[in-house]
Symmetry: C2
Subunit: 102 residues, 2 copies
Amino acid sequence: MAARLSDGERTQLLAPLLADGGWALVTGRDAIKKSFVFGDFGCAFAFMTAVALRAEAMNHHPEWFNVYNRVDITLSTHDCGGLSTRDTALAAHIDQAAARLL
Amino acid sequence: MAARLSDGERTQLLAPLLADGGWALVTGRDAIKKSFVFGDFGCAFAFMTAVALRAEAMNHHPEWFNVYNRVDITLSTHDCGGLSTRDTALAAHIDQAAARLL
């Protein structure tokens, strides 16, 4: 079972994603979100495929919306009803996958 | 340029999708939507990949949301600001792709 991020983990793991990483807290939910815009649909879906493979390996899946070259991602952990270290870890992988395609 | 569906095309191409195909009109927009639920994320993403390949070949892309095993799809044609034969054609391909995985 995943546990909600502790205060220390929020400072150490979450704060950098919010400060420099372009992630934002979701209003009314313990979740984070980020939008990515790629050159075209092919790049956007290549990104989604890279994220999907990692998410499946982690058994931790995003909530995401895509239209053409835009991908909006929300991360939260169903098991604990909020943010866990799974989300901060997946966010880091997502940013790495995007960096290869942007 | 795509053209909006004519009245005849709405009867011939759109009505069957709405009557038997599980598609529904979107409120306040000339668009259609349908939700698909698969066995797990792997099946849902296999479906999305099949749809993505077809969408890219057609140069006509869905608006879609995925969380775990669920995929919500909205179809409309940006060029004409509403439903065109591209949407009814893509809807048929989407249903075929889903049938292979459900």
